[in-house]
């Protein structure tokens, strides 16, 4: 009962935050509200007992991405430009996509359903054998780092590639501008 109330309250706050983000045109406030949005979703993950995910959401969504958005605003502008097209078409696209997604959830198993396909494949083996084979109390860690170690290596490589990509884009632009300045000097 209490959990339902907490869920309703959290989802209501999520919706209000999203509406406030849409209505505002001061980007500083929008960035701060998107941090609030991340913290609220982190709380939702806690109520779903996904503490590891909540941890990541709070650290990345509310922490790092807020700082990076602020850095972007400092480089660009602090007010949203007036849209050049009417917002009717995007609204229709969003509503239709949302309706299709909701329709898609109708076929999904209930939350926590023990007979859901995801809970019948390898998860029972992991939960049953983890203590004997890996002997680590946090099963999430044993799955991430050992059973699915190859996947996590791939994820680390993705983070590495993303970092290299951002560095190439940002520092490449700066160097080109410096060359242009030197050309103008000479």
């Amino acid at each position: 009962m209490i959990e339902t109330l907490i869920n309703i309250a959290l989802f209501a706050m999520l919706v209000f935050t999203a509406l406030a983000i849409v209505r505002m045109d001061r980007l500083f406030a929008v960035v701060m509200l998107s941090g609030v949005f991340s913290l609220l979703s982190a709380m939702l993950f806690v109520t779903l007992d996904a503490v590891d995910v909540a941890f990541t959401e709070a650290a990345v969504g509310a922490g790092i991405s807020t700082v990076l958005m602020l850095g972007t605003i400092a480089l660009t502008a602090r007010r949203e430009k007036a849209p050049s097209h009417s917002s009717a078409v995007p609204l229709v696209v969003c509503v239709v996509t949302g309706a299709v997604l909701v329709y898609g959830t109708l076929d999904m198993p209930n939350f926590g359903d023990a007979k859901a396909p995801a809970n019948l494949h390898v998860a029972p083996d992991y939960l049953h054998d983890s203590i004997e084979e890996i002997d680590v109390p946090n099963v999430v860690t044993s799955i991430l780092a050992s059973y699915r170690g190859y996947d996590t290596l791939g994820e680390t490589a993705v983070v590495f590639t993303a970092g290299i990509g951002v560095l190439l884009i940002l520092s490449g632009l700066r160097r080109r501008r410096r060359y242009l300045d030197e050309d103008e000097d000479t």
Partner: protein, 146 residues
């Protein structure tokens, strides 16, 4: 931010605690929520906070840009190197049991510790490197324009 006295004092108090918490999350990930990814982000937050409040020059004298760029690659090398080392010892790639063949789960502990450390190093490096790349460009907005 030369004039924000409270921010500066609080930041100085917090940075050490944040780094300590990052190490806790890193090496306690086997027992409690967290692991290399979260610890790497928290570690990066400590340096980013210091950079935001005290300026890029000061944080880069503590955590220089060449070191950050090396860390980005070093973490992946630690992770993949752990796997290759398993192969050298005659087991499959990323089969941590090879670290202690008589007691497989102890070997798993060492392997998990090593790969999580690799993840943490890469994530710290990438986050701080992206922050440096953003902050190094001259801003168009002054401190009071927000």
């Amino acid at each position: 931010m030369r004039h924000h006295l409270i921010l500066r004092v609080v930041t100085k108090l917090l940075v050490g605690t944040i780094i300590l918490f990052a190490f806790y999350v890193q090496f306690h990930g086997d027992f409690s929520p967290g692991g290399g990814f979260q610890a790497g982000v928290i570690m990066a937050v400590a340096f980013i906070l210091y950079g935001v409040v005290f300026g890029l020059r000061h944080v880069q004298s503590v955590f220089p840009i060449w070191l950050v760029h090396k860390l980005v690659a070093l973490g992946v090398l630690i992770y993949a190197g752990t796997g290759v080392w398993n192969m050298v010892l005659g087991y499959e790639f990323l089969h941590y049991g090879s670290f202690n063949p008589h007691h497989m789960s102890h070997g798993q502990h060492w392997g998990i510790l090593a790969v999580e450390f690799g993840v943490g190093v890469t994530v710290t490096g990438v986050m701080v490197a992206i922050y440096y790349a953003f902050a190094a460009r001259p801003p168009h907005i002054g401190d009071d324009d927000w």
